[in-house]
Amino acid sequence: MKTLMTRALDLAQSAGAQYADIRVVENRTESIQVKNGVVESINFSDSMGFGIRVLVNGAWGFSSSRELTTEEIDRVSKQALEIALASGLVRGEKVDLGPPVSSQGKYVTPVTIDPFTISLGDRLGVLLAADAEMARVDGVRVRQGNLVLIREKKWFANTESAFTEQTIIETGGGIVATAVGDSEVQTRSYPNSFGRQQVTGGWEMALKWDLPGNAERIANEAVELLTAEPCPADTTTTVILAGDQVALQVHESCGHPIELDRVFGSEAAYAGTSFLTQEKLGNFRYGSELVNITADSVSPYGLGTFGWDDEGVEAQSAPIVKEGNFVGYLMSRETASKLEKVSNGCMRASSWNRIPLIRMTNVSLEPGEWELQDLIADTDNGIYMATNRSWSIDDKRYNFQFGTEIGYEIKNGTLGRMLRNCTYTGITPEFWYSCDGVCNKNHWNMWGTPNCGKGQPSQIAHTGHGAAPARFRNVRVGLYKPT
């Protein structure tokens, strides 16, 4: 392996590249999907290949292939160089990567129980048991469950003498119950929305989630939602968001706008830019003083946890928002050097056939002081909303509108009636400035987002978001009015 990788780097350098790196990635994914008691698919998937990134005359080229042979290494290296030369025909300022990176070492995701040692029968048993529990509830039309195991081995080398080897292990799973009534469809998910919760870690987390033990509850909630009161229409109130929804709020309204490539316009044609422009760094009140947000790639179970990023920069932790003030970006080597800073290790590619982009690591809201029941008791009127159902935000990440699967009225400090079709909207800094309560570490959880899209060609990243329930004042809710 190392010989082939060195060959690619030598070829690039001898052809005039100022810098080159190569990643070899071997991914194994095992997934099971069950719907209404039928095992819809058991799929074991393998993918292996390599990608070579070269910098020639200050311009980038990248090529990739699945065939790890000497001949293909030579062809792909040559193609990457040719592409870089073509990039040079329409070049901006020469790329400056800042200080060299020469990381060495091995990293393996710590797991208590290697999920790949769990038999297929046992995995299937968990999903079928959860399905049976959901099936006990009348009125549930669609019952779904899935488990996903991923083991990704990655080797990285660059022309600055870095060589790292890491194995990232992920475990994901979830169940969904959908109930259908007269012109109404309601869904409840567990442990997270969009099919599953996912972590870096082992089967111990799947055991902790206890999918069968929560199946009947969510099935009942889905049915109950069909006849629940609708979210009050277009009004302003206090909102307490559950931890899973806070995680999504952090992802969309903080995680994306702090990507420094967006700030520099690299994603302007697609994902968009960012309202957190350069001059705001260190000079902008992003939220209330209770808002502390950190980006790290070291937290246990975070989907953004690894040994090194895809430029060989070591995993680390960095403040993003400190007591409400905006203090940090997610950076690559190239973008950090434009700010005369050093990368904080956020470059990741979704696979061997994609270039690394700045991606969220674990962007987390730090825990506050409140117990959840005290926070609710402290709220005269409002709505408690949980589990994301719909998410939309503008291209600068200012205006958002999110919907949740379930809500509860808060009256005189207690949770009241269940509410359906809850939506809320706001402007990012105004919303975070209205935050006046964050729950403590007892309620804080590391949520996984395994479906974060960015880049062209499209890349799906896995990101982590630690979050606890939090309270926001004067929030506009009820944007959906049934016809």
């Binding site: 990248f62 990739s64 592409i83 329409v90 697609y270 503008d394 205006n399 959906y480």
Partner: protein
Amino acid sequence: MFGREKAKDIGEDVLRRAGKDAAEVILSFEDQSLTRFANNYIHQNVAQRNVTLMVRLLRGKRMGLATTNRLDGHGLDILVERARANAKISPEDPDYPGLPELAQYVAVDAFDQATAGYSPQERAKVVGTACRLTGEKGLNGSGLFSTGTNEIVVANTLGLFGYHSSTNGDFQIVVAAEDASGREQGSGWRVTDIPTESLARAAIQKAEDGINPHQIDPGEYGVVLTPYATEDLLNMLNYYGMGAQAVLEGRSWMNDRMGEKVMSELVDIRDDGLEPEGVPMPFDFEGVPKQRVDVVERGVVQGPVYDRITARKMGKTTTGHALPPTMRSLGPIATNLFMSPGKTSTEAMIRSTERGLYISRFWYTRLVHPRDCVITGMTRDGVFFIENGELAYPVKDLRFTQSYVEALAKVETVGKETRLLMSEFGGQATRAPALKISEFNFTGLTV
């Protein structure tokens, strides 16, 4: 490229390794290149070559899947063994109707040698022209130019064999001014059909016209939608209800509306995988020939697209819209959508509007509620207030929350020109006209 014969050999090799078991192979090859630009220069420039080989192995009614990108003999052995092991442990699947029989396919042309051989230098030349044009105006250009080749084989142990090769090209440009932007896109399987320079000039013009936008109050407005915005309406109606699985599960906007006139009689929507004006594909991922499906005819809901599983459950015939078996949970979807054009130019639509909004594009649209296909999203890259038949002034972006079914019920005019657009996630093409709609619900502002 593999070519038909080599691809067939690989498929047959896998099926042989399945032995006495029934099996199906889906082999897809892609050779894709993409040049991306921002701030008037190329900042990302990539190429990839990959295959995905999937086998579905059946032991009676038990089914197992395995996928790989390794084509050596050992890799194929492992692939088949994994699929077999998965089939052994899987409970019987009462819904799967078994492998499809041998089929005859209509020959469709979707391969262009010039597109297949397009070089990084050629893409750079096109991008260079676009960047020069935006730079000369003091504006900021960003976007992409991609070209590529795809091959797909579907084969099974009942003798079914389908092979299809295609090329693709896509040019997208966003031109940004201080407080405005304009976007254009052109797609097709012949790269020379994409008018890249005129698209760049149109995006520049729109950005210049959009400078110094006014803020208006949210509320109900009549709108003129470009084909880009119409494409979003069609795609969301597709994702959330044009497939039989969604109808079966009661989450489609078609539920309780079948056979009813719920859209304007000017609205005709069909899916046609064989139509040369789209991106043709002769069969689906089960190897079933594609059928034309009239989804909405003169505003009346006709029915969804089917794969073999949903057709069997609902007593219908498949229309050739299966996705790969790993995506079975989604059910079938339309992949070559067309909305029939009308007789009116966009200019005439604007001239006939006393007061309304001209919308260039929707962005980040997401489902709020399924049964009415209620969608929220933002406008982007050019909104203009129409007053007395003219584009009076640019407007800041707005958020909307709107039932797309109701929006199509309020279509007053359909544009005479259509545009072919590749979907955001690939694999799907839509040909859409401009639309004039009497009411559209805008619910918020941005900064």
